[in-house]
Symmetry: C2
Subunit: 321 residues, 2 copies
């Protein structure tokens, strides 16, 4: 019987569930619509049913479920719960407790999505030999997973790694968190859109982006326009990379990682955002850190990273044991 872990990637719209073997391969997976379950108990039942169906999939050789690992927004590693979520149908979800009642003898671990990606990077990705690195995830927000001394930093309350909410610009853009100037209001999919709209307002140069409404425009559109040479789009990537790089210089001053991995939709623009980020980080680094910290794209495919990330929470300890 092949040992497998159920890796679960909880997002505001979709929850993806897959069975992952020790090598990090997703053997089979399924999807449930997060926002179709106003009652959290029904949602937990749906996750349970999905795992049961997957483990009994007739196309698989028989498998033994050895753990469940979950990456979710606002998830607390210490309590195993989602706490004060803002983009989910429920504020608080005791994931480990609820699933633990159905799987009393199985190891269940929960952390936020960026931490899960960081652990996957450590177990299966480009950080396999590193003890000190950082993962930045660029999506609807900016998430981060920080590894030091070979261990993820969870903090005393299980909530560490909120680099998206360090102050990038004092008294800057309003953030959903209630503060102003948070890094993720500049460096994220909505962040680059806000930068585009600022540029459309301050500059007179022509741009295909002048035809899009704020609600319609996506980071993908901005990337496509930049690939077509659109000056506003190119400038927006440059500014976004510049602000990211300056913040990464602060991250380096803090924990001195050997490498910083950039993951998520915006990272697909590759050098268009990574190059200005590198240039800016080097500019702002103090001398002792210059020219020794790599900024690299994540080795994990966007598609399965969440599932593999969740599963790696369990497989990480199997590797060590």
């Amino acid at each position: 019987m092949e040992k497998v872990v159920a890796g679960i990637d909880i997002g505001g719209t979709n929850t993806r569930i897959g069975l992952v073997n020790k090598e990090g391969k997703v053997l089979v997976d399924s999807n449930i619509a997060t926002d179709k379950y106003p009652q959290v108990d029904d949602y937990i039942s749906a996750i349970y049913n999905s795992i049961e169906i997957l483990t009994k999939n007739p196309d698989l050789p028989s498998v033994e479920l050895v753990g469940i690992g979950i990456g979710a927004p606002n998830a607390n590693y210490h309590t195993g719960s989602i706490e004060k979520a803002v983009n989910l149908p429920w504020q608080d979800v005791p994931l480990a407790d609820s699933l633990g009642k159905r799987y009393p003898n199985i190891n269940i671990k929960v952390t936020n999505d960026a931490n899960a990606v960081a652990i996957a990077e450590m177990v299966y990705g480009n950080a396999r030999k590193l003890k000190d690195f950082v993962v930045i995830t660029l999506g609807t927000g900016l998430g981060s997973g920080i590894v030091a001394n070979g261990e993820l930093i969870y903090g005393h309350d299980g909530l560490a790694g909120e680099v998206g909410h360090i102050t990038a610009v004092p008294n800057g853009r309003h953030c959903n968190c209630g503060r102003c100037g948070c890094l993720e209001t500049y460096v994220s999919a909505p962040g680059i859109k806000r930068t585009v709209f600022e540029l459309l307002a301050t500059q007179t140069i022509g741009s295909s982006l002048r035809n899009a409404s704020f609600n319609d425009l996506t980071a993908k559109d901005i990337h496509a326009a930049a690939l077509n040479g659109d000056h506003i789009a190119l400038k927006a990537f440059e500014i976004t990379g510049e602000i990211l790089g300056r913040a990464l210089a602060d991250v380096v001053a803090f924990s001195s990682p050997a490498a910083i991995f950039i993951f998520g939709g915006l990272a697909e623009a590759k050098e268009m955002i990574l190059q200005p980020a590198k240039d800016s980080m080097e500019k702002y680094l103090i001398n002792c850190f210059k020219n020794k910290v790599a900024i690299l794209p994540s080795a994990l495919g966007n598609k399965d990273a969440g599932i593999v990330g969740g599963a790696s929470l369990i497989w990480k300890d199997y590797s060590i044991a």
Copy 2:
């Protein structure tokens, strides 16, 4: 025979050396003038001689030297060396190697002064039960020691914890490191002096500090003036605390410590700087971190903290073993 560790606190002017027992008590100590040794080999010999004299002190019961622990500016834990020092007579000092030739069978550890204070706080101070905390030292610069998962963060190159050089004000004050806007240009003994001079320039209110030259004025003078109700001095402490608190909110977003300990000369102003720092940190924290991170004065006396800090590098492992 009582086991002792030689704790060494290297500063630009003085090098203090003491024998410290396992309980963190300094049994005897001595001092050598750092800046009287243009040749680094002579300086190493002077340290060696001091240790030999201390261990043979006739007032002591006979002692066994079990280790040497050193806190020094720009010291790299991994290499055991001072690297690219700016305030010492020599740029690079291979401390562990040089002393290791004289003490081949003794454990020798080196780290920067703020890290040494953090470890002393963990072994002997207020952080004894904490696995996640931060120490900020306020002196000529702003140093930091960051502990996560019960371990000091050294970073991949041994140089982590440069919170003094995160950007507090984009394009702000010039820093000795060559950058602009570093936190320590605002929050340190020279930093508060610069704030006083800014206030003297922008405000018209009377102040005893208007009689002092920039070169003569010290942080102690500013503290004394504040205790006398001098408005400029009081305002300078308030501004310094406010900028410190905002930066600490970023530190919390990063590693979510249970407590932040403030150490060093400026911290002697106690609530005069700690209260505005607390208020400002709470203002800038995202909701999930509000009202749960303590800002506290260090439990270590300023006088012996450097010696005890150095020694705790060695005693820390004895405690665990």
